[in-house]
Every structure is written in structure tokens, then in C-alpha cells.
């Protein structure tokens, strides 16, 4: 069948950023999210993978012992994905989650206060520094949180819950708008 274009639908398509002095919420492009799973939790495996992919702590984020997300704003071509799989294969399996996970950015002086309404994880900068990542409940929704700057976080959530998480965050940040 000839189709002119197979259109991509973003889970949070059409959500305009919510911007204020206290806190800003914006959707991030549905680029790529690769789930790397190693047989080993050793830190040298992690370092090796980072080295072969040439990525830093903000690109390759810890998920759990021996598992990471490699994240980027650009969608990967089949060839680019195959290349990564080839490089990583000796150290970890790769599962493409680019469509399964949706990213939301939250930033601003009150970002931590908004997140503290949802999560019991301690987000103080000295406990949760830039590059640190963890999965936790925000309200009722499991969310992977990465600190990307002193007052900025990226949240990654299952696609099916993305809209609910967005609405919850919008609700929790109302007082700072």
C-alpha cells in the first residue's frame, strides 16, 4: 500500500509548556530511549559501555543494577540502532523503548518542591546530584527521575501513563504559577 506519510503521534502531542518563575514543565521530543541490560552489575561493565558508546551520565542513566537507559532527543535510524546494538552486544542486550517511554522536563527553583509532593525520594542536591537517576513513585505513577541540572529534572514514564503524569504535575505546580 502506498501511503504518503506514516505520521508519528507523540503521547503528549499538543501539550504546551507550562512556564512560570517558580517551575516550568515541558514535554521532550520522543527521540530514543534504549534499555540496556547487562548480565552483570559490575561498575567496570558500566564504564566499558559508556566508553564504547561515548556517553556521559546524562545520556546513559542508571535504572537498576546492570541496567541503564541511553537517552537522546533524536530518533534513531534502523542503521544507527543496529550500530549501537553491535557495539554494546558483548556487554549488554539492547531493548528499544523509544516509544514505550515518554520524557517530561521539569525545572526551576520550585521543581524540587513540586516533585516532593509526589515522591518520597530525597532530592536534595547533595544527596541527589546532577546525573543521578532513580525510579520512584510520583503519586501513583512509577517514574524514572534524572537530575539534569541544579534545578532541573527529566522524568521518564510509561507511555500509557504520560498524560496522567503530566496532568498530575500540572496540578501539583499550580501554586507556583
Amino acid at each position: 500500500m502506498s501511503v504518503s506519510a506514516i505520521e508519528h503521534r507523540a503521547a503528549l502531542g499538543g501539550k504546551a509548556p507550562l512556564i512560570s518563575t517558580g517551575v516550568t514543565l515541558r514535554t521532550l521530543p520522543e527521540g530514543h530511549v534504549l534499555h540496556l541490560l547487562s548480565a552483570s552489575a559490575d561498575s567496570d561493565v558500566s564504564a566499558t559501555i559508556s566508553a564504547v558508546l561515548g556517553c556521559d551520565a546524562l545520556t546513559k542513566r542508571s535504572v537498576s543494577p546492570g541496567q541503564w537507559f541511553v537517552v537522546g532527543d533524536e530518533p534513531l535510524s534502523a542503521a544507527a540502532l543496529a550500530d549501537i546494538v553491535k557495539k554494546v552486544k558483548p556487554h549488554a542486550e539492547v531493548v528499544d523503548q523509544s516509544h514505550g517511554r515518554v520524557r517530561i522536563a521539569i525545572a526551576g527553583a520550585k521543581a524540587t518542591s513540586v516533585l516532593a509532593k509526589g515522591t518520597a525520594a530525597d532530592l536534595a542536591l547533595n544527596v541527589f546530584p546532577v546525573g543521578h537517576a532513580t525510579t520512584t513513585l510520583i503519586g501513583h505513577i512509577a517514574t524514572h527521575i534524572t537530575r539534569v541540572s541544579e534545578d532541573g529534572f527529566e522524568l521518564m514514564v510509561l507511555r500509557g501513563f504520560a498524560e496522567s503524569l503530566w496532568e498530575e504535575l500540572a496540578e501539583l505546580s499550580v501554586e507556583f504559577r
Partner: protein, 90 residues
């Protein structure tokens, strides 16, 4: 209101992030006797005091932990990854 489980990978997290399975028992060998299997599936000691339980950090790192908990006080002595990938944390 709250109780916290010290996940060896994620730190202290509220109970809501976890799923508890029950006593952390060793699965019998496939050819173990019928009684060993019945014990494993059905019989529990239900002690008052120290107890090892399997907890899953479902909304966190998704690792299965062995949590040592006092059944009378809920005091948690420690938790370790069930595959013992890290040491027990207090």
C-alpha cells in the same frame, strides 16, 4: 501513613513502592520429597520477632530483596538484594 524500606540500591523508600511476597524461603530441589514441597508452599513459622521476607521494589529498581523485619515492632534490621549483588544495608 508511612513506613520505609531501606532498598540497598535506592535508599529508604516508602512501602507503597514495594510488593511483599512473604517468607524468604529456599525453593526445594526438584526431586525433594513431597513434604519439603508442601512445607515450602504452605507452611509458615509465623514467628514473633525477626523474620526474613521477600520484598520487590516494584516501583523502583525492580529488584527482589530479602528484608529482615521484626514482626512485632516493624523495625527493619536490614535489606539485601536476593541475588546478593550488594551487601545488607541498615
Amino acid at each position: 501513613m508511612a513506613s520505609l524500606i531501606p532498598c540497598p540500591h535506592c535508599g529508604q523508600r516508602p512501602r507503597e513502592e514495594f510488593t511483599v511476597k512473604g517468607a524468604a524461603l529456599v525453593r526445594p530441589a526438584a526431586d525433594a520429597g513431597r513434604n519439603a514441597w508442601l512445607d515450602y508452599v504452605y507452611l509458615r513459622d509465623n514467628p514473633r520477632g525477626r523474620y526474613d521476607e521477600h520484598w520487590h521494589h516494584t516501583s523502583g529498581c525492580r529488584r527482589w530483596l530479602v528484608v529482615t523485619r521484626d514482626t512485632a515492632t516493624h523495625e527493619i534490621e536490614g535489606a539485601r538484594d536476593t541475588a546478593a549483588r550488594t551487601e545488607t544495608v541498615e
